[in-house]
Amino acid sequence: MRRRLMRALGMIALALGMVIVGRGPLYAADGSIRIGSFLAVTGPASFLGDPELKTLQMYIELINTDGGVNGRQLELIHYDSQANPKNAVGFVKRLIDQDEVDIIIGGSASGETLAVMPLVDKAEVPFISLAGSIKIIDPVQKWVFKTPHTDRMACQKIFEHMQGEGIQRIGMISGTGGFGKSMQGQCQEVAGDYGIEILADETYGPKDTDMTAQLTKIKGTEGIQAVLNPGFGQGPAIVTKNFRQLGFEVPMYQSHGVASKKYIELAGEAAEGVRLPAAALLVADKLPDTDRQKPVVVAYKQAFEDRHGAGSVSTFGGHAYDALFMAVEAMQRCQCSDAAGVRDELEKTAGFMGTAGEVTMSPEDHLGLGLSAFRMLEVKGGDWALLD
Amino acid sequence: MTLLKVDDLSKEFGGVHAIEDLSFVIEPGTIHAIIGPNGAGKTTLFNLITGVYTPSAGEVYLDDRPVTGKAPFELARAGMSRTFQNLQVCLNMSALDNVMLGRHMHLKPGFVSGLLRLPGVVRRDREARQMCAGLMDFVGLGNHIHAAADSLPYGALKRLEIARALAAEPRLLLLDEPAAGLNSAETREIDAVIQKVAERGVTVVLVEHDMKLVMGISDHVLVLDYGRKLAEGRPQDIRANPDVIAAYLGTAHAFA
């Protein structure tokens, strides 16, 4: 009994010790602008949520040291949704009802974003999502905006490129997570527009360790001219390795779900020659100086990598950067932070230069990015290179 | 009419015959003992009769109807009840609740009626509680009625099993070594309990090592050796049977 008590007390002490290490929330002085956020910092989409949170934290700190927005400090209130829609719904209720935030930036994954949309609509809080699905902005909902390109655009960009290469018959292998599955559906829908036929359509689980079986099946399909892999996380890296292992002689296309240096690091040499659509951020240094996007992406890349290490930048963190600055600029334009004012001003965003591209919103378009904001990249010599 | 008839019963465990071609009959209203050296198959036989094991061959008849392969609860509802050599007491329940469990099939234990706590359920439960407290008194557990089962000593648990079996109001009661592990005073008490049960008209079959107990109260004795019948008859005949003496001389047991 005594021993058990000692062990239990030890554990409680350890837990309490964590309080000191992991500091509690810092409640800024009254009058601050409250930015609410729910991100998948852990769980299956943690590599999205992690850089997104780091970006928000870093820039809010920078903005505050520069005097804040409209003379007021920014305060970040953040919860880890673990990419679980039910958690996200709970946290958004907390952000709205308890924390009374002025704007919500978040939703690393599409499922959690879709889940909270009715809530923000009802509470009339401006919400900028960082997730990919086209369903978030089509049909347009009054209070919901988003920064990343849609999965549909990624499909279109890839197929456009394939068309240029004379590719007509492809095999597809998609992750069964939300991202992969949603993009798989979008690609199936738009493939016909580009005269592309999907001859083999395989999937893998987000935590699978080997995809040679599926790829062998694709390889055995007659007439495949390219393989497309919508998915994120470690899955695409394994697919890429298995793809090389099996000695495919056709090109591989990845999605914008792997748009970070991490992918090249994980897949190693196997990544050579892989093509994907992504924001210019990945090739910031290689952009011509005439490119209007260059200053923005170079600055973000530098700031992020200074703090978190070389090669750590990803387009995912960039989505959070875009959302934050779009919101900040809207607040500065209207000199306000009230929900309706900020929302209206967000909708009027025009010519905003973010990491994803140039954004011009309208009441009919809460994304404001064109297909041209995507660049086709190829992996060359262990780094990204512009294809077009 | 016979109460229980066992016909050419066999049970194999991985090629070993625990019971082989065993036949016997149990008449109503007797105390019937089954004896034999360790490993003779006595407990296996109980398990076969009560449906805990399924026989490899042969038939068991209750009231002349074949009951082989029926589930234990069906046999219990047909009037059979038993105790166990390795105690089977629900230690997560109170002592009284263990005995109340024995009343289960007499209480119309429906799910919905229990959920709604219908008046009939409450009334029957109250009556059963009284009856079971009486039974605990009867087996000598009168001062343990409110105890938790896991607080009772071994000897009390053995008697608790008997009370539980009696609560089911069986016509045929099978007792597996009721006196094992008890001291001589406790054994005498059990002896008395068994006789009183038999006087109420319940047919008792007991497996027992305590020869004094067996010879004192049994009307009829069946001797098993290596799963087969070695002898059968009245206690005084068994005592004189040369085969039985030979089998038992090899063991430490001595006749009283």
Binding site: R4, L5, R7, A8, M11, A15, M18, V19, V21, G22, R23, P25, T42, Y79, P85, K86, V89, K93, R94, D97, S110, G111, L114, A115, V116, P118, L119, T176, K181, S182, G185 | T50, V52, A71, P72, F73, A76, R77, R82, F84, Q88, V89, C90, M93, D97, L101, H104, M105, K108, P109, G110, F111, G114, R117, R124, A147, A148, E161, A165, A168
Partner: protein
């Protein structure tokens, strides 16, 4: 009066009713209502699960699957087929009940860790089907539930309305569960845990008892799944995930096995704790794990039974019965 208060069925229930009635006085906003409603939903499921795990001693690591099936039945039937919510909910519950009935017999023949594996596999298969059949279920992104829950013109729309609805359901279900465990059926349930063979030889059809409680716990999970789908207005296959199943079991065990009130405490702690622990940021999960281990090591029987024994010990009452 004193006697009523002293009995768990009378006193505990009274305390519960008073607690539910008074809690809103301390609520400052809708978020507080939201947490309370979630506690209520979880508590209802966990009471059902505790009948299976705590009382009958049959572990299940797949009950989130049943909950999710109920949720999806409601979402699909009210959304795509315009069924009234109550009819959709009951249809889902009947379907889940039938499914549970069919799998119960072969699954419940298994014991211990093998039973854990089988129920886990069953839940995983449900989750995989929900994730894959996206035409019907919306796939991993989940689907919205637009229809408000209501019966005969009465609708639950505001957090307040949901609070009273869930509170009332919880009280009724706790009352029924307390009745049940104190009935002959409940005795049979506990006996299945204590000694299956002993129960059999006094006439308890243990298979039927186990199947009944398995089906009941599944149906309760399904009903709560339907209700929470309407409340949250969104469902995803993560409802059916292994983690959700485990979370429900942890609630039952942490609060106290074979303790109805323990289930309520377990549900409350595990629903509220993550909200509190968000303050630890990066250390949130580490602290959560440590707290869980500490509770189970210090109180291996769960919070309510352990506290009950401790109180009984302090009062020096011999042979204290475990709290129901």
């Amino acid at each position: 009066m004193l006697k009523v208060l002293a009995s768990p069925r009378g006193g505990g229930l009274l305390v519960l009713i008073v607690l539910i009635a008074l809690l809103p006085l301390g609520f400052q906003n809708n978020f507080h209502y939201d947490v309370a409603i979630r506690v209520g939903f979880n508590a209802i499921v966990v009471v059902g699960l505790n009948l299976l795990i705590g009382y009958a001693g049959q572990i299940s690591l797949g009950h989130a699957g049943f909950l999710a099936l109920g949720a999806y039945a409601s979402a699909i039937l009210t959304g795509s087929h315009d069924w009234p919510p109550v009819l959709a909910m009951l249809t889902g519950a009947v379907g889940v009940g039938l499914l549970a009935f069919v799998v119960a017999r072969p699954v419940l023949r298994l014991k211990g860790h093998y039973l854990a594996m089988a129920t886990l596999g069953m839940g995983m298969i449900i989750a995989i089907v929900l994730n894959t059949e996206s035409q019907l279920t919306g796939g991993p992104d989940g689907m919205s539930v637009w229809v408000s829950f209501g019966v005969a013109g009465l609708e639950a729309n505001t957090p307040r309305q949901w609070y009273w609805l869930v509170g009332a359901l919880l009280v009724v279900w706790v009352w029924l569960a307390l009745n049940l465990i104190d009935s002959p059926f409940g005795r049979a349930l506990k006996a299945v845990h204590g000694s299956e063979v002993a129960a059999e030889v006094v006439g308890v059809d243990t298979t039927s008892v186990k199947v009944t409680v398995f089906v009941v716990s599944a149906v309760v999970a399904s009903l709560v799944g339907s209700l929470s789908a309407h409340y949250i207005s969104f469902i995803s296959p993560q409802e059916a995930s292994f983690f959700h199943s485990i979370e429900l079991v942890i609630m039952a065990v942490l609060g106290g096995m074979a303790s109805i009130y323990g289930s309520l405490v377990g549900a409350a702690i595990l629903t509220v704790l993550p909200q509190v622990l968000t303050a630890f940021e990066d250390f949130e999960h580490l602290v959560f794990g440590l707290v869980m281990m500490a509770v189970m090591i210090f109180m291996p029987k769960g919070i309510v039974p352990s506290l009950g024994l401790w109180l009984a010990g302090r009062a020096r009452r011999p042979g204290g019965e475990a709290a129901p």
